[in-house]
Symmetry: C2
Subunit: 347 residues, 2 copies
């Protein structure tokens, strides 16, 4: 089927089109290399009647309905992006893949069922994804860290440690709205809203993301589920043994973006100029000195890396990597997955 | 002179009494163990006519005037805290010390001229400080990191890496006011003020603090002056070779507080329970799970440590340390220095 469709263009569904990731995907798709013939915007019942603007035209959102196996919104669709919570994306992905629709799930909920793909890191997993009709685009911390480590591959990365700061927007629009509501409440001495985050995020740091399993004799005691997942995902993507990845995940009071302060131990001795050349050679990294924070990077598709420093004791490089978590990691990587599948004739 | 004064109480000067550190010091001093007979509040010309409340009573601020050598505000003073910029504190400290007044400088400007002291780390330097009549209480990142590393001393710390997040308040009240002004301006779509920070701090991260020397062949190329200073200070305090300390300093959009995400490599093998016991044994560390962010710690004197995790590859512990940078690091350490000098009969 890949022989003729590219010329005619693709019918593409975006599921979760009214969410933060879905909206960014819709805004970006028509400017991508993918030949979009028709965009089918799909969302849950709570979005019934809503419209989303695409290229100046207003598109009505179709409500996700029907049993898996009879999903009318997907008739004629070749490619479906899923930007919905795991409880929706996991069963829906299987149903769509069974109908031959290529599914690109955003956020990593399909990890374990479908290959994770970050094209900037490697495209070996794409053939298997195409065969299964499912690919998983991992969460922002995984995409950011794997992209940096993969760019340094020839210098033989041995271990990665550091801190990844997520923003309120990592919890979707509800997270960003809660931060905004908290700021307004604090400035007006009212009670700040707290639904998305366990404690107040405004002007504070949350040193844990999600659940931390109860302490036990497990060697990973204290590491949160999210930290374990990101370490395992990065290890899989860059083919490093997982014990050598130790990343602390925290939430900073930013509306959007992701910021990683990393130490990458390298077996090969390399000076800063060589490290710089390796980082720049990748398709998605932009070197920047001075490096801007995530708020200045809203709407940009690159991963901005700067503050490069060699470890004073040698054997490692320290750096900051910053990105718009939506445009770079969520939208950007999902579109890169789909574009590569299409270019390779695997759609 | 130490034989009789403790009973009578001390005449104490606070220089910079109208700044953020000075105000916190004044608010805390009378609740400290120091026997305060008289508080002399001193500030620069711009604070002329101001008053500061102490224990419900309003104290008039004396203006810092006169040549070094004739400083009328310091007649009869035994102990002077300096919470002023380096250009004021460095010459003033020498002049006061020459008159026999014991000077405790806050912020580290005297480092190199007077011993740095963090009593929770060790008090060996106090005798020399007493002889010179000058002690330097280092900046918050140094106090935080040195306190953690010293508590793990018996487990033989080998290296420390990580990220220390400062807040707007690290630049004094002007920094906090600028962040506040930026937030209000952004919510009202006006131009945000930018004087203290090089770019906007509201809802963003600044991945560098202060000046980064121009790149050269120096093995420390890329490390900022502040990062170099903190590494050298921690190394001196805990007697680790400086090359083994690699700390990234950044600014987060918080009004106050300091947060450090650290990896401490330990030569001795220890389980989490043992690491916990060591940390708790120190005088200033409080273990906390779940660990609150700095906003919840305003006004608290302890260093809050949590999210303890062993490195998955072994040989290191990861943790977060959080504190009110004023109450814990600036005020708390300076008062601890003075209290220890007094208890040891060195005032």
């Amino acid at each position: 089927m890949s022989e003729t469709q590219p010329a005619e263009g693709l019918t593409i569904a975006v599921v979760g089109a009214t969410g933060a990731v879905g909206r960014d995907l819709v805004a970006t798709l028509e400017r991508s290399a993918l030949p979009v013939r028709e965009l089918r915007l799909v969302a849950g019942r709570s979005s019934a009647g809503q419209t989303v603007d695409v290229g100046g035209r207003s598109h009505r959102v179709q409500v996700l309905s029907g049993e898996p196996g009879e999903l009318p919104a997907f008739e004629g669709v070749q490619l479906a992006f899923l930007a919905v919570p795991p409880e929706v994306s996991v069963p829906l992905a299987s149903a769509l893949a069974e109908q031959g629709i290529m599914v690109v799930e955003i956020g990593g909920a399909l990890a374990g069922r479908a290959p994770m793909v970050v094209p900037a890191v490697g495209i070996e997993a794409l053939a298997e994804a195409s065969r299964l009709r499912m690919a998983s685009s991992p969460s922002a911390p995984t995409v950011v860290v794997a992209t940096v480590v993969a760019a340094l591959r020839d210098l033989v990365p041995e271990s990665v440690s550091g801190t990844v700061l997520l923003s309120a927007g990592a919890a979707g629009r509800a997270g960003a709205e809660e931060l905004s509501g908290q700021v307004v409440a604090l400035f007006n001495q009212r009670q700040p809203p707290r639904r998305v985050f366990p404690t107040g995020l405004a002007f504070d740091l949350l040193p844990a993301v999600g659940t931390v399993p109860a302490a036990d004799d497990d060697p990973l005691a204290g590491w949160s589920e999210a930290e374990r997942r990101v370490a395992a995902e990065v290890a899989t993507l860059v083919e490093l043994p997982p014990p050598h990845i130790a990343l602390s995940l925290a939430v900073a009071p930013l509306f959007s973006g992701v910021a990683a302060s990393l130490r990458v131990a390298l077996e090969a001795d390399a000076d800063l100029d060589e490290i710089r050349r390796r980082l720049e050679a990748g398709p998605t990294i932009r070197l920047a000195e001075p490096l801007a924070g995530p708020r200045r990077l809203v709407g940009r598709a690159g991963l901005y890396v700067g503050r490069l420093r060699k470890d004073p004791a040698g054997g490692a490089v320290h750096l900051w990597a910053m990105a718009d978590n939506l445009r770079f990691a969520a939208t950007g990587n999902a579109i890169a997955v789909a574009t590569t599948l299409w270019r390779e004739g695997m759609l």
